[in-house]
């Protein structure tokens, strides 16, 4: 079972699901930093399964939604990268308070991996960061979103010319998510130094054989032979069971 609640400042509350350990409390909290936009919906089921598996092996787990996304408060147009980085810190703090754990592990997925690394930096309470198909940097990620947007526009033969132009506006990204100028600029400024600033002994990358897979220099990496097509306008769910098992194994290993 899980316990769902809203937390954080009254003006920008975040939605969270807390999974307490089902047995043998190991006094260890895992915070899941989900991916963004369409990738969130595509991985929701998979990340819930990971959370349940971790709870069954005695871990506390907190899943949460960034501000302006999913069930959290606010509009995407008002969200910023700075805000999302703060949200990760807030979620870690909330998870520690709810669970009573001091030791924390992070699972970051795609852009969530980049944000998580930027957020936690060298914080000592973070024991390990497991990154699932991390994006290399914000600029590359925006380009990928842009290509998805172009594919969606291309596919829609009934779109009027004016609407087509609007849909290809500079701040319409992957699947029609409209981002603010500030968000786009902040994403562009997010580079791979977010990874290199973390001690490599704390990082563990689990990659799929997807074409967009990115390796973090000097960090141990496992390649799971599952194909996850991230750069697509299709909206099918991503549930690669062997990969999910690897993620869980990486998160529970001492």
């Amino acid at each position: 079972m899980h316990e769902a609640f809203f937390f954080g400042p009254r003006s920008r509350q975040l939605f969270a699901s807390y999974h307490p350990p089902a047995k043998d409390d190991r006094r260890l909290l895992t915070v899941i930093c989900p991916p963004l936009f369409a990738e969130y919906n595509r991985t929701h089921h998979a990340l819930r399964k990971v959370a349940i598996s971790l709870a069954e092996s005695g871990r506390h787990v907190l899943r949460f939604d960034y501000r302006g996304t999913e069930d959290s408060f606010g509009n995407l147009e008002d969200a910023t990268v700075t805000g999302w980085i703060e949200d990760i810190a807030l979620a870690i703090q909330e998870g520690r308070e709810v669970s009573g754990c001091s030791a924390v592990r992070i699972l970051g997925v795609r852009a969530g991996a980049l944000l998580a690394c930027r957020s936690v930096g060298t914080a000592s309470e973070i024991q390990r960061l497991v990154l699932w198909d991390p994006v290399s940097d914000g600029a590359g990620y925006l380009q990928a979103l842009r290509r998805i947007q172009e594919a969606i526009v291309e596919q829609n033969i009934y779109l009027r010319r004016a609407d087509r132009l609007q849909a290809m506006h500079e701040y319409e990204y992957g699947g029609g998510y409209r981002l603010s100028d500030r968000m786009v600029n902040e994403l562009r400024a997010l580079d791979s130094s977010a990874y290199s600033n973390i001690p490599s002994s704390k990082l563990h990358v689990v990659s799929t054989s997807s074409p967009s897979a990115f390796s973090v220099a000097g960090v141990s990496e496992e390649v799971s032979q599952c194909a996850c097509n991230w750069e697509t306008h299709e909206e099918d769910l991503i549930m690669p069971q062997p990969l999910l098992e690897r993620l869980v194994a990486c998160l529970i290993t001492s």
Binding site: H44, T69, F73, I157, L159, G176, L237
Partner: protein
């Protein structure tokens, strides 16, 4: 969650709290709150309760601003709800709906309901409406509809007069030429996993809403073009006296099934809000 205007409350309910949903209400309920129906948004396919690109969240919060309460819910086995073992899909849906009604009545007293959703959410609303007299409205996004007598002619005209189709065809073949011996695009049957309600079920659903002096909003997008291609087709197929008095039927071929573009999402949210305001006018 709460702000100056609305409150949101996560609810776990049903046997052992296996079901999950989020109740959205105005912070201070309006004086006519008891007279207004409660909206229940049902999962679209396997997507969890937020809907495609957060559509259900935005419906809920927009409707709350004008006084409507809503529940966006994960049906058994979807989102954060656990499956209901040993039940067929149909039994599970009905059991879930009993649980939804129970939790809403426990919270709000006697309720009237508007059920709706996109794709399978619309299919489920159609299945649920006839058997529960509390259902006084449906919001059907890309619901099922039979072809009418003019469908084929309209399809031919559309097929051969739409320049963009030729452009796409040409691009596809040029791409294929450059890809000789390589992969070929697999045609995907988008309806393969969908269990459409039968025509009789659809008719019963509309008749039941009409009998309760309720209302129906149907919106069709380009997704439906293999079976629906003109506004008014649903009315012609159903042949119900007084259809136009209780039904609003819209055809938006430029919108995609999951409302990929913000401009179409905003348009739909506004449409739902305007349609819902009709319940306020009735009271």
């Amino acid at each position: 969650m709460s702000d100056h205007i609305l409150t949101e409350e996560p609810l776990q309910f049903g046997e052992n709290g296996r079901m999950f949903g989020i109740l959205t209400q105005l912070g201070v309920p309006p004086p006519n709150a008891q007279d207004l129906p409660v909206f229940v948004f049902l999962n679209s396919g396997l997507l969890h309760r937020v809907g495609p690109r957060r559509l259900y969240v935005r419906f809920a919060r927009t409707l709350a601003e004008i006084g409507f309460t809503s529940l966006r819910v994960d049906l058994a086995g979807k989102g954060d709800s656990f499956p209901s073992p040993h039940l067929t899909t149909e039994q599970s849906l009905r059991e879930d709906f009993r649980n939804i009604v129970s939790v809403l009545e426990a919270r709000l007293g006697h309720v009237r309901l508007v059920v709706g959703g996109l794709c399978s959410g619309a299919d489920d609303a159609i299945r649920l409406a006839p058997s529960d007299s509390r259902v006084v409205g449906m919001v059907l996004l890309d619901a099922v509809c039979d072809r009418d007598s003019g469908f084929r002619a309209r399809e031919i005209v559309r097929k051969y007069t739409h320049l963009a189709r030729y452009r796409r065809w040409l691009k596809k073949h040029i791409k294929a030429l450059g890809n000789s011996g390589g992969e070929t695009e697999q045609a995907i049957d988008k309806f393969a996993l969908r269990d459409f309600p039968a025509r009789q079920q659809l008719r019963e659903a509309f008749q039941s809403i009409q009998g309760r002096q309720g209302r129906v909003l149907s919106v069709f997008t380009s997704y439906s073009e293999e079976y629906y291609n003109q506004a008014g087709q649903m009315g012609r197929v159903l042949e119900l006296d007084g259809y136009r008095q209780f039904c609003t039927e819209l055809y938006w071929p430029e919108a995609s099934h999951t409302y990929s573009f913000e401009l179409h999402r905003s348009q739909l949210i506004e449409e739902v809000k305007t349609w819902a305001a009709g319940y306020i006018a009735c009271n």
